[in-house]
Structure formats: C-alpha cells, structure tokens
C-alpha cells in the first residue's frame, strides 16, 4: 500500500511543475490576442471579445519603421555565426584534448573550466574598452567575437570525443596514411556529430539570450538584438506612465517572435540533446 501511494504522488508533483512552467506562456499567448486597452481591463487568463492577434503582429513589424525585423535579423545573424564558429573551435579543441597527450594539457583544461567562474561584468567592461579602442562597438564583431569562446562546449566536446571516437579507428586511418586533420574530418567529426549538435544548440541559446554584452556594446538601436530591443521598448512603455506610449501589446507580440524559434529547435532536436547530456553524466 505504501509503495502504491508513492507511485501516484510523483507524477502529480511533476504534473504540477509542468503546469507551473506553462502559466506565463499561456498568458503570453492569450495576451497576444488583446488590444492595449483590453490588456488592462480584462482578466489575464481569458480572451476578450476584441480579437487583435494579427493586428498586434502587424503593429509589431511596423512600429518605428519596422525596426523589430532588423532586431530579429541581427539576433539570427549574431547567434548563428557565433554558434557555428564556437562549435567548430570547441569540436577541434575537445578532440585535441581527448586524443593527444601533450604538455600542459590538463592545465589548459583546468583553465578552460575555471573560466566558467568569471563574472560577466569582469569580462564585459574590459571587452567594451578594448572594442571601443578599435572602433568595434556597434559592429557585429562586438558580440560575435566574445561569443565564439564556449568553455562549456569544449568540456562537452572532450567527453564526446573520448566516448564516441575509438582509438582503434584513428590508428587504422593513420596506417592508411591519412593526415591528422583528415582523420578528424572523416573519422572523428561524423562520430561526434550528435554531441556537436548539442554544443551548437547551447552556444546558440547563449548568444540569442545574451543581454549584458549587447546592452553594453550597442548604442545604435539598428544593431540591437531582440533582448536589448524589447528591454528598450519596455522602458519606453513604463517611464512616466502619463506620457508613455502604450507599447505593451507589441512587446508581448515581440516576445512571442523572440522565443518561438529556439523552442522549435529544442523540440525538433530533442533526441540529440537529451542523449548527449546523458552521455556527459556518465563520464
């Protein structure tokens, strides 16, 4: 009887957690169908009579001459460029650390892991100084260059290389006369691929969701990613409520556009990241 009670309790606890997760998302979707006036005057978790869903998105993409489209394009560009380079660098480095003995290897790995502890301010402020000296603030470089360094990606890639690439295969390829880089390209890379998708996904999120770095680096609204842009609209909407523009409906629509692509990526690539993270725990 005791066991029976437990078995029933756990799914309920997890179910409640699931509902809790959905609360703000459900609210966001319902609210995206409302006009600004209805946002204030109707109950948040139910629809109002005035269905404004499409108008809200039309307003979103036309507000300030359609600057939101630019923010989305910027975000996609910054995130994909950085994540691609970050994944390649992490894959090469993780493979190098896993498959070769060389001086300073463990020290290097320790330094890379230690980098996770560095507070973002300690890094962002000097980066801003260095980049502004070279006229790189307000350019895509300002966010792409710092984001190609993914210590967590190296950590994962090393584990993937150790577990997914057998030494025998590398040896066999060497006997066939393949160069070391060719062995990586033709033997190791394909075997590491499922893990590297995870590395890419996490790097993508890190850049897409980054707020502090672009907030400091960009003063030109045309260069903003969506996070900084939405925060900017939110402060315009709330400063001195009397004169404030009623922007809440477009901020809500903008939030939906900002989160949907990554959510889709996560659902579609689920089998890769769940599998890879489990692999990470084994080691």
């Amino acid at each position: 009887m005791h066991a029976l009670r437990k078995v029933k309790l756990m799914p309920i606890v997890v179910g409640l957690g699931f509902v809790y997760t959905l609360i703000p998302l459900v609210w966001l979707i319902i609210s995206s169908t409302k006009s600004n006036t209805d946002l204030f005057s109707t109950f948040g978790f139910w629809f109002s009579d005035d269905f404004q869903f499409f108008e809200n998105f039309k307003r979103l993409f036309s507000h300030q001459d359609g600057i939101y489209t630019k923010w989305i394009i910027n975000t996609v560009f910054y995130a994909f460029t950085s994540a691609t380079i970050a994944t390649i660098f992490a894959a090469l480095c993780g493979y190098g650390l896993a498959k070769y003995e060389f001086r300073g290897r463990e020290l290097m790995f320790a330094a890379i892991i230690g980098a996770v502890m560095v507070p973002t301010t300690a890094l962002v402020i000097p980066l801003f100084l260095i980049f502004s000296d070279r006229g790189l603030t307000n350019t895509p470089w300002a966010i792409i260059l710092p984001s190609i360094v993914s210590p967590f990606g190296v950590f994962l890639s090393r584990i993937f290389a150790e577990t997914a690439v057998p030494d025998e295969l590398i040896e066999a390829a060497r006997l066939d006369g393949a160069t070391e880089l060719k062995i990586f390209r033709t033997v190791a890379f394909p075997l590491m691929k499922p893990g590297l998708i995870t590395v890419f996904l996490f790097a993508l999120i890190a850049v897409w969701n980054n707020f502090f770095l672009p907030l400091v680096m960009f003063s030109d609204p045309e260069k903003y990613p969506v996070t900084v842009g939405l925060n900017n609209w939110n402060s315009q909407a709330t400063i001195a409520s009397g004169s404030a523009e009623p922007l809440f409906n477009i901020i809500i629509a903008g939030s939906i556009v900002a989160i949907v692509p990554l959510m889709i990526a996560f659902v579609v690539l689920q089998r890769f990241w769940v599998g890879s993270l489990t692999l990470g725990a084994i080691d």
Binding site: H2, K6, P11, V13, V14, Y20, I23, P24, W27, F40, F43, G44, I88, L92, C93, G96, Y100, I112, A115, V116, M117, V118, P119, T120, T121, A122, L123, P126, L127, I130, L145, P146, V149, P151, V154, E162, D167, R174, G177, I205, W208, N209, F211, V216, V228, L230, N231, N234, F248, I251, A258, I259, L262, M263, F266, Q270, L277, T278, A281, I282
Partner: protein, 307 residues
C-alpha cells in the same frame, strides 16, 4: 587515458620524419583556434581589467597607480555590500528551493513509465531556451497590478491583492523568475545522473524490503551527489551575477529595485553612469572572488561531511 599506439616498426621507418613531426604538432593545431580566441577574448580582457583595478583617474594628474585603494574603497562601500548580501541571502533560499524541485522532478520523471514523461521533461526544460529578458517581462506583467490577473483573482476570493512588485515581495518575485527559468536545466543534469545508477541496486534494496522512500534516501541521493554539487556550484555563480531579471523588472518596479540592487547592476552603474571604470573593475573582481570562495567552501563542506 589515450595513448598514441606506435605503428609497427617497418612502417615507422617508411613513414618519414615529416609525418612524425606532423603528428607531434597536431594537438596544437586542434587546440590552437580555441586557445587563440580564449586568450584574446577572455584572458586578455581579464588581465587588462585586473591591471586597471589598481589605477584611478584623477582630475589632476590623470591616470595614477593607486595600489589596493579601489579594493579598500569597495570594502567600505555599504552600497556594494548591501547588494552582495542581498543576492547571497536570496541565493540561499532560491537555490535550495530550485534544486529541491529539480531533484523531485528528475526522480519523478525517471520513475514514470507513461509517454507523458517525455512531454513533462521537455516542457519543464523549455524555459531554459527563453531569454531572461523575455522571462522577466512575462512574469513582470503577470505580477503587475495593472495588467496581471492577481487583482481579479483576489477580488474573486475577496482578499486584498498581493503586490508582487512591491519592495517586500520583490526578492520572492525575482526568485520565482529565476527558478522558472532554470529548474528544468538543473532537472536535466540530475536526470542524466540518474540514468547512470544501475537498476540492480534498487532490485537488491527491493529484495531487502526497502520502501521507495528509503531507496531514494539511501541509494539515489548519495549517488546524485556529484550532479547536485555541480548544479549547486553553477547556481551559486549564477546567483551572484544576477542581472537581466532585476534590470528588466526595474522598469516595472522602480520603487523596489534601484541601480545598486545586485552587485552586477551596481558594477555596471559604476562603470557607465559614474564612469569609474577602475573602481568597477575592482568591484567585479571582488564579485568573482566571492563566487570562487563560496563555491569552494560549499564543495569543501559537502565533501568533508561524508568522509
């Protein structure tokens, strides 16, 4: 670990010196690109900031070396210590609540057999993919008495509405946003660790008549230690760097969150509002140092206790 197995003798002789040199250089070619980026965009800025923290810009005389003055100043800076204590107190509660929930969800999903567990696992993890700015905006609107549903709900049951953006509730409200964002991420790490526990352990315990609760306490939790350690340390570091959530909520709750609410907000404010980059650098390093000390203290205490 990985040793480079040497090829058969005759082969080595024919594969020239050139190929052996190439192989000796190979690891550096692999780690090189990352290492260069790491040095340029991580090590170099840190060194320059560390160096900068020992200088000050004076109206007369310009930039001068001041030794530990900036650090001494930070130690006497009550605004800084208020912000540091605030996030530490906040973290003690929030991290414990979040990781307890993460562990419960992970164990729960691991025990479930129905297909629903996949939906739950994905659903609870998804907020991790949502930018903290958007998370803070959503919850911030939900909290607000103008847009959010709380006044309506309070009316319906006839109680006064809780003002979640007021100074007395704001830490709870931020804690909820952070928990919502990261409970699933930590759940996945713990869930992954659960997969490595051999089922035979539970079978043996079952034979000995242990209840599910006893099994959790004596098998699951001790074996989850490394994963819990890792998630706690990451959470401590994350908490000390709290920035995006309070920065976004500040616009909705200016009466509750000021510009020195968290150490990172304060450091940013020193750097770009007061334009005192050297002092901001010193403050940032103290934040990093606190994160380092707390993480190690935690690891030390939790590894000591069981040996």
């Amino acid at each position: 670990m990985t040793t480079v197995i040497s090829a058969p003798r005759e082969r080595t002789r024919t594969t020239s010196l050139r190929s052996r040199v190439r192989r000796a250089l190979a690891p550096y070619i692999f780690v090189g690109p990352f290492l260069v980026a790491f040095a340029l965009f991580m090590v170099l800025p840190l060194i320059s900031a560390f160096n900068n923290s020992f200088y000050a810009d004076r109206l007369v005389g310009g930039r001068v070396f001041v030794g530990f003055d900036n650090y001494r100043r930070a130690f006497d800076d009550s605004l800084f210590w208020q912000s540091a204590w605030r996030v530490i107190r906040f973290g003690v509660v929030q991290v414990i609540v979040m990781l307890t929930l993460s562990t419960m969800f992970a164990i729960g999903i691991n025990r479930m057999t129905s297909w629903v567990r996949h939906v739950y696992r994905l659903g609870i993890f998804l907020p991790f993919a949502i930018p903290s700015v958007v998370a803070a905006l959503m919850w911030g609107y939900l909290y607000s008495k103008n847009i959010g549903p709380i006044p309506d709900l309070a009316d319906a049951i006839g109680t006064p509405a809780v003002e979640l953006l007021s100074p007395s509730w704001i830490l709870f409200s931020i804690g909820n946003i952070v928990t919502w964002s990261f409970v699933g991420y930590n759940m996945i790490i713990i869930y992954a660790a659960l997969q490595t526990i051999p089922p035979s352990l539970y079978e043996a315990a079952e034979l000995d008549g242990a209840t599910k609760f006893q099994q959790t306490r004596t098998i699951t939790l001790p074996l989850l230690r490394p994963a819990l350690l890792l998630t706690t340390v990451f959470s401590i570091i994350g908490t000390l760097q709290l920035f995006a959530e309070p920065e976004t909520l500040r616009r909705l709750a200016p009466q509750s969150i000021n510009s020195s609410f968290t150490p990172n907000l304060y450091a940013l404010n020193i750097a770009f509002v007061s334009n005192d980059l050297s002092y901001a650098a010193a403050v940032s390093f103290i934040i990093g140092f606190i994160a380092f000390v707390l993480s190690y203290a935690f690891m030390f205490v939790s590894t000591k206790r069981n040996t």
